[in-house]
Amino acid sequence: MFTKIIKNEWRNIFAEKSFLILAIFFSALIFYGIFNGSNWVNNRSQNSQTLTAEHEKNLAEKQEKVRQGVKGSDDENKVVPHPGDPYEFAMNLHYVVLPFTSAAIFAVGQSDVLSNNAGIAVSTLQRTEADKDGFENPLSFLTGKFDLSFVIVYLLPLFVLAMSFNLLSAERENGTLQLLLANPLKLKTLLTAKVTAQFSLILGIVSAVTIIGTLLSVKSFTDDFWLKILLWLILVFAYTAFWFSLAVFVNSFGFSSATNAVVASASWLCLVLILPTLLNVAISAIYPVPPRSEVVSAIRNVKIDMRRDGEKLLSEFYQDHPEMIPKDGKTNTKDFGLAFVYIQREQKKKVEEVENRFAEQLAKQQNLVKNLQFFSPSIITNEALNDIAGTGLERYTNFRSQAKEFDKSWDAYFVPKIFRGETLGVADFDQIPRFKYQEESFASILTRVIYGVLFLLIAAAALMFLAFGKLKNYRLEK
């Protein structure tokens, strides 16, 4: 009987023109979302690749010049720095890059707001162009991107609800419900069969279209890519299950189809639009991020002027750091550049202290998001999709701290050479630190995602259970 109803339901669904239109439209949205996401990732990756290539080229050129024995010139009319002059490295900014994962095309996530490039320089970023950034249109952040994640989080529930809001009510309004139940068939079984039919159909469409879209747009597959796709599909399964159970639950009250539609859309509104914004308010009230003007004040409170105070500071510095004294023992405390490096290092320390406070607050907020996500299935799904795609806050936080560590090793390599007045030899170039982002394992992504998925499934089961209880009192007539 069960399979008969499923088959019958499928037949009915396919007979309806509106379903076909809806299905085609929804598939088009999925395709568009994937296309848009991959467009975004391609553009951004190109920019990152250019930056990395430029840096490597620059290093190789300098090394070649050193190899050829090119010396700088101090001639007042034509100052040419020595190619191995560490001071040049100190002043010059380069970028280290967080690569996009292959799954990034699914969710733009935070990658539009948080940069995939981090500036590295011995001077503070404030003194470089890395900190003179922010040319995106803010309007674009406000609206958000049309990626697959948007289609799943916002639109998939609507698709589900549009199909299922009148699961029982329509049968009742058409008078077919009584007819059906004249057979040896329980209402529970009927409902489960109908839901199973619709559920498998939607999931089939979503999975198939997603996989086809993926195959068309992903160029290189990393090892764990298919694992991620699998996790993505499991998540979509759980999210879809939740919304179907919600529809069943709404139907079990026995309202009319129109009322069901209102209730279903109101619950969508609550869970997808209103609750996340309310939680956001709560979270930023519990862990407020200090005003950014504090970073500004911190930088400016380093009240040193290199022209005025440089000499004194440098002689103190050499006293404290005898290891930085040049080999010939001649310190140059009047050197403008050295004073600059010294001040930049002081400012860097200050800025780091303040920025750590920002990072701490943000980490606390993110922790709270993970704990409170269970209030809304959309938050669970949004967070999990970002995690799988590698565009969530955690990965960017990891990247930032790795970049910061790298910046320190960059400093540690060049600064002593600057103060000791050394130049780089050919072999030294190979010792220059190189950045490679340490990707987190699939297992650790899984641990972040799995609780949400489990919760969705449990919530779905609970709603079904409640609905079945209610069904006992279901009135078959209007």
Binding site: V79, D133, L158
Partner: protein, 474 residues
């Protein structure tokens, strides 16, 4: 007759539990969001005012310094929070909130609050504007989807039509009835909004904000009328209330969710903006051919030097009665300004074109024009951000000029960089004061959106009258 119909519709809505509950929820959300907006406005305003004062104090107390060292030290300009941002925070959280005013560089606004937020922020913000733009139309849909379709199902439509009630009056009556019910919710909100505004700002700020506030209210009213018109039309055409509801919800989804994102992606994909590194690479390329105040070997500096030497009738820089470095720095600034003008005006045009591009989609989505119009009236849209950036840049150029001139005029080339000035001079430099766009230019920049809203409201009402004429009783 209109009055009777309106009264009937109004009374029916009030008796309807659905209306009371949803209206109460929407009202509660409006209240909460206004409260949050007020709190946010006062906190951020306090922080920014303090930061601005602090920046000035640091500048004045920087001690004895060479004017060019001071130019590198720089000052900060903080974008002031607009009073009506408590209703519509617009782009406030997505655009930079401060600009570093320094030598050689026109800097973009930095420190976007969104960078210090979790992904939850991307679900949208709880602002009064958000509720008016997204939830109110839904409330209207829930209230009106069965205005005709419901009467048709229950058979009362046939009765009314048999009485010979003119269809025009029928539509207007229903519109007024729904509008009256909405106003019951909106008027207290407006009063609360004004009180929040009054609490948060001084009298003159309040007074100057009122015209903007009034225009904002007009914009929203037009938006609501548009949705009532659409809902009545669909309700007149649709056979059953269910179909009517499904069509209206689909329209809402398209208008408020799909089209804005679609338009945004289309706009940003077809009108590209540079990333930070691309922007600076382009600027640096232009700069390379030009003057650099620090590099006397440069060709342009040579030309400048010859010109200045000839002007004073001397042959050596050391014999000049002024300090050539100051002149050279100012020339460098002016050359840089040309380059910045080029690149920043390109960027500005790109951003505005993206906005206009999206604006055209307002023909199929009333959400877009009302969002833009509301932001503009609140002073939180792109135009206002750009206006702030421009006035900071104007301030920067004046300040640089003052510093360089002081350096050139009060020392000679023999002094090099050893010339210093102190507090007395720092106090004489102007402080940054921002005067926001006035109401009429804010309105002028959004005239297209406003016209679209008029088109939507009157257009849909006209269509609904037409639909009512074609409407069948069964």
């Amino acid at each position: 007759m209109i009055k009777t119909i309106a009264k009937k519709e109004f009374t029916e809505l009030l008796r309807d539990g659905r209306f009371c509950w949803t209206a109460l929820i929407v009202f509660a959300l409006l209240l909460v969001s206004l409260g949050l907006g007020w709190k946010n406005y006062t906190t951020v305003k306090r922080e920014k005012d303090a930061a601005q004062v602090d920046s000035r104090k640091t500048w004045e107390n920087q001690g004895e310094r060479n004017p060019h060292s001071a130019a590198h030290f720089g000052v900060y300009a903080f974008r002031p929070k607009m009073p009506l941002s408590l209703i519509d925070s617009g782009l406030d959280n997505f655009s930079g909130s401060s600009i570093w005013v320094e030598a050689h560089y026109q800097n973009p606004a930095r420190n976007r609050p969104i960078e210090d937020a979790t992904a939850l922020q991307r679900f949208g913000e709880l602002t009064a504007a958000g509720i008016l733009q997204l939830l109110l139309p839904l409330l209207i849909i829930f209230l009106t989807f069965d205005a005709f379709a419901g009467e048709r199902t229950s058979g009362t439509l046939r009765q009314i039509l048999s009485l010979g009630v003119p269809r025009l009056q029928l539509v207007f009556g229903k519109t007024l009835g729904v509008l009256a019910a909405l106003l019951l919710l909106l008027i207290p909100s407006i009063v609360i909004g004004i009180s929040a505004l009054a609490l948060a700002s001084s009298n003159d700020v309040l007074l100057s904000s009122l015209p903007r506030f009034a225009l904002m209210c007009v914009g929203y009213l037009l938006y609501f009328i548009a949705f009532i018109g659409i809902a009545l039309t669909v309700s007149a055409i649709a056979v059953t209330p269910r179909t009517s509801l499904v069509i209206l919800l689909t329209f809402w989804i398209a208008s408020c969710l799909l089209i804005p994102r679609f338009a945004n992606d289309l706009a940003t994909n077809s009108i590209k903006t540079p990333t930070g590194s691309e922007f600076w690479a382009a600027v640096n390329k232009d700069m390379k051919d030009g003057i650099d105040g620090h590099d006397s070997a440069n060709k342009r500096t040579k030309e400048l030097e010859e010109k200045v030497l000839a002007q004073y009738g001397v042959t050596k820089k050391e014999d000049l009665p002024i300090n050539f470095t100051g002149i050279s720095l100012q020339a460098g600034e002016e050359h840089g300004n040309e380059i910045f003008d080029k690149h920043y005006s390109n960027l500005k045009t790109q951003h505005l074109s993206q906005e206009y591009f999206q604006g055209f989609f307002g023909v199929i989505s009333p959400f877009l024009p009302v969002r833009g119009f509301s932001m503009a009236m609140a002073g939180t849209d792109l135009k206002h951000q750009q206006n702030f950036n421009d006035s900071v840049e104007e301030y920067r150029r004046n300040l640089q000029k003052m510093l360089n001139n002081n350096f050139a005029d009060n020392s000679t080339s023999k002094d090099g960089m050893s010339y210093k000035v102190g507090k007395a001079f720092w106090e004489k430099t102007p402080d940054f004061e921002y005067v926001s766009l006035n109401t009429s230019s804010a309105f002028g920049s959004r005239i297209f959106d406003f016209l679209l809203l008029i088109f939507w409201s009157f257009g849909t009402l006209a269509v609904s009258v037409f639909a009512a004429h074609k409407m069948r009783a069964n």
